[in-house]
Symmetry: C2
Subunit: 384 residues, 2 copies
Amino acid sequence: MTLPVRHDSMRARNLGVVLDAVRRGGPQTRAALAERTGLTKSTVSKLAGDLIEAGMLAESGPARAGERGRPGVEVVLSGDRVAALGCEVNVDYLAVCLLDLAQRVRFTRRRGQDNRGKPAKRVLAQLRTLAVEAMAEARRLGLDVAGAGLAVSGPVADGVLLTAPNLGWRDVGAVDLLGLPVETTLGNEASLAALGELWFGAGGQDFLYVSGEIGIGAGLVVGGELFHGTRGLAGELGHVVVSPDGPRCRCGGAGCLETAAGQEAILTAAGDVATVAELLARLENDDELAVKACGEAARALGIALTSTVNLLDLDRVVLGGIYAPLFGWLAPPIERVLADRLVKLRSTPPTLTASQLGGQAATLGAAGLVVHQVLADPTRFLPR
Amino acid sequence: MTLPVRHDSMRARNLGVVLDAVRRGGPQTRAALAERTGLTKSTVSKLAGDLIEAGMLAESGPARAGERGRPGVEVVLSGDRVAALGCEVNVDYLAVCLLDLAQRVRFTRRRGQDNRGKPAKRVLAQLRTLAVEAMAEARRLGLDVAGAGLAVSGPVADGVLLTAPNLGWRDVGAVDLLGLPVETTLGNEASLAALGELWFGAGGQDFLYVSGEIGIGAGLVVGGELFHGTRGLAGELGHVVVSPDGPRCRCGGAGCLETAAGQEAILTAAGDVATVAELLARLENDDELAVKACGEAARALGIALTSTVNLLDLDRVVLGGIYAPLFGWLAPPIERVLADRLVKLRSTPPTLTASQLGGQAATLGAAGLVVHQVLADPTRFLPR
DNA sequence: TCCATTTAGTTCGCGTTGTAGACTAAATAT
DNA sequence: ATATTTAGTCTACAACGCGAACTAAATGGA
């Protein structure tokens, strides 16, 4: 439903507009901000003044214009007051990061451990230990933690992780189990990684992030915003059908992408390789079977992506998860399929990129989500 | 970019909020509107007063509550002042409709004619004749035409129809060629039909509208809004891959849905039937080949929809275009495929519905789009 | 019948907000 | 030096929504 605007929400919104303009445009003078936002100089001055007083903006010294006229003073996002926490549970590690409002990473902690089959309660308690460390560091730095984002590898609804096939979990109240003293937002790993790629990677404003793990998830970013779908369950790329009569899939269907390009399918096809690291080693030695396995997976990915591109009108795809290290072997065949199948429909096939953030994408996205909530409505952190 | 809020836009927005609440909730008292919108009684009173003065709302008599207290007076959308035009060029007909602000259809005109291969300029001039008739009728009824929507069967960008395979058109500046004296918005037929289904059919707030014609398009509605994709080219369902090694498709790919379930594929498989009407006749006579052709097409549709549902998280699919009359023969096999393939991933497979609007969906959607623009910001039609 | 009660809608003074334009500040060009 | 240009602040002002008081119109009970 469309929300009404009142005086207070007008103010909240305009403060957010100013902050967001600074985030997008980097250090800028008040005059430039007025120009860019459409607000008047005096309004921007007042808003910026309040934000500086609240410690969310800071003056960063004179802007050397070299041109005529009084040089302006640029304002920047200040990372000295507010921060956000990003957390992630994955199959083989736990991770947290602390991100300040200026989007600088102030602290990270990662703990490699196999979480498969372990009880959710215990794993999340271990993650809490890391989170508490991060919050202690925040206090030491004089930062308020505005909230936390929690990335889990499975579909999510109302703070509950519905299923995590690779962890063997079902219906886990992850936010409650993590039990942080700040508001915690639960999100799907692929979605949050997509946001991480958006804000910290080379994703641009519109792209599909593909997260290759045991399952294959995807996060769609359109116009700089995440697409959620009806109930927030969008992104099950792993069960797009790539060969209707293909092998049966655990979802009940057959010939799903996951059966052709999921981690297990690739490792098996490469000759029952045990780990992705091992697979990589073989690929680097030009192991024929391994290369062939990647080629097969890539062709299946190419087909699924063709469908997706046609449906959603994408011009950029970012490959993450295990696909990032395998990028060199996957990208060429995928690109060939895309080019072949999309010639007539679009002038250029979508660009393929490997995720630059590695295992950090999801935690960065999770923390970034909170940062962006604060930037969009900073009233919580204003005096009075 | 996030837009700032100023006093005038605050007012515009709140007027829109009130109108939208009336549209969604039907006739309501001012008190109920205040409750629903979150604005105060006095504000709603003032806004409603202005809207009544402008002829966009009207008092519809006392609300019989039967309960204690003074009975309120309900306000309704008034269709006596503003209207919108919806136009459509399709393969075998031209159509226009005139829709008032209360979303009542005040005039329709349809002209059956084969437009294949004819020059766009001539066809659009013919459509203009119909549109001018509709605008004359509007003038006769004392209605201001706020704008027009134009539906065409092909991808659209910046007022230009990029390609219309079934008409044999390329890069047609359709808005300019139509040359109406009101602002005209160009839209893809499937997208606009989806909006028609949203506002006038039984679509609910979240669904995928599938338009079966020579090509197969789709319009996705999420949370009561159309999903546009990066450049507004989303919805090419026809080129989702359903059998990677299937027959070649005119898009350059192979095994696209269109090659299995497009109008021509079905007619050919049914034994080179000439028209959909003829196919229907055969189906009603239980012609074995025709029934089998529909079954094949339905299975392909089922596979494409499985992929789509997994990607986009849908729980309702509306079948339109030629699929609407064929619904009885298509739906059961599609439902079987969806049920089989989605068992484990979602509690219930998506509901399948036939479009109730027939060939009217796109014109209604096109006109509705304009009506909704006016409802969202009615300032243009306010005095002063 | 009368009056308390309840709900609808209007009126009016108030506080908050952004705006426009005058004004001050600080640079460059001549 | 002085004019010019641009940045930023200050102040009077108007628009808006808010809230409380008020009027209006119904029901229900004595």
